[in-house]
C-alpha cells in the first residue's frame, strides 16, 4: 500500500486537522467526537442541515459544509458510518433553534447510527427529521432487502436542501423538499480499479488488467457484474440506460447531469465521458439544464465514474443556482 499517510489509525484525525487548517474562513473542525461545522454557525432561526458518513468519499460530506449547503458533517472512520455521539454533538453544535434535518445515505450502518443520534438529539430538545438518500439504481430495491444505496445524488440533495434552509424554509418544508429530490434523482457507477482502505492495506477488490466492475458502491463494495473494459461510449451507455429506465426519465424532461469521478479518474476522461452522456441525452430529447463534473462523491483513489441524473423544475433550478460557499462547491459568494 502506497499512501501519503503516517499511520492507518490516525488518517481521519490528521486529515481533519489539515482540513481545518485549509479552510479557516469556512469551517470549524471539532475532534473527539469528530465533526465539522460552518465557521459562521449556528445560524439562529435556520434549519440545521446535517449529514455525514464514512470517510474516504471526500469532498463528501465535510467539503460541503458552509453557507447554502450543510451546517454540519460527521466523518466516520474510513468507509464506516459515524457513531451516534458524533452525530448528536454535531446536531447540538449546528442547532439554530429551528430543528435539524439529517440527510443520511441509505446504508444499514448509517441508518442505525443516525437513528440513535436522532433519538438522543430529541432528548436534548432538538426537533429532528431524517431523510434517507437511496439513488443507486445498481441495487435492486425491495421490502426485504437493505434497499438502495445513497451515492452521487447525495451531493445534489445536500446542495438543494441546503439552499432551501438558507432561504428560510422551515423543517417540514426542508424535509418535504429532500424527499422530493430523493424521489427524482438516480445514479449508477462503474470502477476500473478499487481503492485501498488504509487499515486494510489491500484494494477492496481486484480486477484483471482489462476488467471493469459495473454497479459498484462507494465503499469498495463489488458491483453486480464484471465485464471486459469497453469504449467510453459503451461504458456511459451502461450507466445511463438503467438510470433513464428507472425513474423513468423521458423526452422533454429537464435534468441536471452530474458526471462524477470515483477519485482516481482524471478530469480529461471525466469530461470525455460527460460529453458522451450529453450527446446520448440530447438524442433522447432530454434537456440538460445544469451540470456538475468532477470528483465529488469518491471512493478513495478508485478509478471509475458515476452518472447522476436529477429531474429539474423551476424551483430546483433556482435552489441549485443559489449562492453556495463551501470548500468544494462555491458560486455566487
Amino acid at each position: 500500500m502506497k499512501k501519503i499517510i503516517n499511520d492507518p489509525s490516525t488518517v481521519v484525525a490528521e486529515a481533519l486537522r489539515g482540513m481545518a487548517a485549509a479552510h479557516p474562513d469556512l469551517l470549524r473542525v471539532h475532534t473527539d467526537p469528530a465533526f465539522i461545522v460552518r465557521a459562521d454557525g449556528p445560524v439562529a432561526g435556520k434549519v440545521a442541515v446535517v449529514s455525514g458518513g464514512g470517510s474516504g468519499h471526500e469532498p463528501l460530506h465535510g467539503g460541503f459544509v458552509g453557507m447554502g449547503m450543510l451546517d454540519a458533517a460527521c466523518p466516520g472512520a474510513v468507509f464506516t458510518s459515524p457513531t451516534p455521539d458524533q452525530v448528536q454533538a454535531a446536531i447540538a453544535a449546528a442547532d439554530g433553534g429551528a430543528g435539524a434535518l439529517l440527510l443520511v445515505k441509505n446504508y444499514t450502518g448509517d441508518v442505525l447510527n443516525f437513528e440513535t443520534a436522532a433519538e438522543l438529539a430529541v432528548i436534548d430538545g432538538t426537533e429532528v427529521r431524517t431523510v434517507l438518500i437511496d439513488d443507486d439504481v445498481a441495487v435492486q430495491d425491495s421490502l426485504y432487502t437493505a434497499g438502495r444505496r445513497g451515492v452521487g445524488g447525495t451531493v445534489l440533495v445536500e446542495k438543494i436542501v441546503g439552499a432551501a434552509a438558507e432561504r428560510g424554509d422551515d423543517l417540514a418544508g426542508c424535509e418535504a423538499l429532500a424527499r422530493r429530490v430523493v424521489g427524482q434523482v438516480r445514479s449508477m457507477g462503474l470502477a476500473l480499479t478499487a481503492g485501498t482502505v488504509p487499515h486494510v492495506g489491500e484494494p477492496s477488490f481486484t480486477l484483471g488488467a482489462d476488467e471493469m466492475e459495473i454497479g459498484i458502491g462507494i465503499h469498495g463494495e463489488p458491483g453486480r457484474a464484471r465485464v471486459s473494459v469497453e469504449p467510453a461510449d459503451v461504458m456511459v451507455r451502461r450507466l445511463l440506460d438503467p438510470i433513464l429506465a428507472d425513474l423513468p426519465f423521458g423526452k422533454g424532461d429537464r435534468v441536471l447531469l452530474f458526471t462524477n469521478s470515483m477519485g482516481g479518474t482524471p478530469l480529461i476522461e471525466l469530461y470525455l465521458a460527460h460529453g458522451i452522456a450529453e450527446r446520448l441525452l440530447a438524442e433522447r430529447g432530454i434537456v440538460v439544464e445544469r451540470r456538475l463534473v468532477g470528483p465529488y462523491t469518491t471512493s478513495l483513489e478508485m478509478q471509475g465514474m458515476s452518472l447522476t441524473l436529477l429531474r429539474l423544475d423551476d424551483e430546483l433550478i433556482e435552489l441549485w443556482d443559489a449562492p453556495v460557499r463551501t470548500p468544494a462547491l462555491r458560486w455566487g459568494a
Binding site: 464514512g54 472512520a77 464506516t80 442505525l112 437493505a146 477492496s204 465503499h219 469498495g220
Partner: protein, 221 residues
C-alpha cells in the same frame, strides 16, 4: 459455578483477544462481500472497551459491565456492527438486571434478549445472511441447555457457541438480504458472513473463558 463480575471481565478480555487475533480474517471476509472493515471495527470497539475498564471504577455487577460495553461499542465502532453489537449488550444488561452473578438461566436469558434487540434494530430474519444467523440459534441452544438441571454458564455458553458456529457456517450458501452484502445479490452466495463469523468467535471465547473459570485458577485443579 456461577459467573461473577470478575468472570465477566475475564471473559471480555478473552473476547478482545479473539477479535484482535481474527481481525484480518474478519477484514478478509468483509472485503469479499462488504467493505472490508468488520475486523477493524470490532478491534477498535473491544480495544476501547478494555481501555474503558482500565480507566473506570470497577463495575459492581455483570449488568453494569454489559452496559459499559454497550455504550463503548456504540460510541466507537460505527457501521452496522456498532449499533447491533451495542444493542445486544444493552439488552443483555437489562435482562440480567442487578444480579451479582450469572447462572446458566440468566446467561440464556441474556442471549435471548440480545437476539431480540438485534432483530428489533436491524430487522433481519434468520436466513438473511447476517449475524442473526449465528445469534438466533445460539440463543435457542442456550435456552435448551439452561433447562438441564444445574446448568452452568459454561455449559450454556458451550451449547450457544456450537450453535453459533454451525449457524455461521450455514450462511455460506445464502444470498444476503440485509446489510451491505445484499447489494451483491446472487454474488453474495458462497461466502461466510463476517458478522455471523465474529458472533460465533465471540461466543466461543465466552464459553472457553467460562469453562476455564469453572475449572478454577490455572494449576489449582
Amino acid at each position: 459455578m456461577d459467573c461473577t463480575v470478575d468472570g465477566v471481565l475475564a471473559a471480555l478480555r478473552a473476547v478482545t483477544d479473539t477479535v484482535v487475533a481474527h481481525r484480518d480474517e474478519l477484514v478478509g471476509l468483509d472485503r469479499a462481500i462488504g467493505d472490508g472493515d468488520h475486523g477493524e471495527n470490532l478491534t477498535r470497539g473491544f480495544t476501547s472497551v478494555l481501555a474503558k475498564f482500565a480507566d473506570a471504577d470497577q463495575p459492581g455487577t455483570p449488568g453494569q459491565v454489559f452496559k459499559l460495553v454497550a455504550t463503548t461499542l456504540i460510541s466507537t465502532v460505527g457501521g452496522a456492527a456498532g449499533p447491533l453489537f451495542g444493542t445486544a449488550f444493552l439488552r443483555a444488561a437489562t435482562a440480567v438486571g442487578e444480579a451479582s452473578s450469572l447462572d446458566g438461566e440468566l446467561v440464556a436469558a441474556a442471549l435471548r434478549a440480545a437476539v431480540d434487540g438485534v432483530v428489533a434494530r436491524g430487522k433481519a430474519a434468520e436466513g438473511d445472511k447476517t449475524l442473526v444467523d449465528a445469534l438466533a440459534p445460539a440463543a435457542r441452544a442456550a435456552e435448551t441447555a439452561a433447562t438441564e438441571p444445574n446448568a452452568t454458564p459454561a455449559a450454556v455458553l458451550a451449547a450457544a457457541a456450537q450453535a453459533a458456529e454451525d449457524g455461521a457456517e450455514a450462511t455460506v450458501p445464502l444470498v444476503a438480504r440485509k446489510g451491505r452484502a445484499s447489494y451483491l445479490g446472487e454474488r453474495s452466495a458462497g461466502h461466510l458472513d463476517p458478522g455471523a463469523r465474529s458472533t460465533a468467535l465471540i461466543l466461543r471465547a465466552l464459553a472457553t473463558s467460562a469453562s476455564t473459570a469453572a475449572q478454577g485458577p490455572a494449576g489449582a485443579r
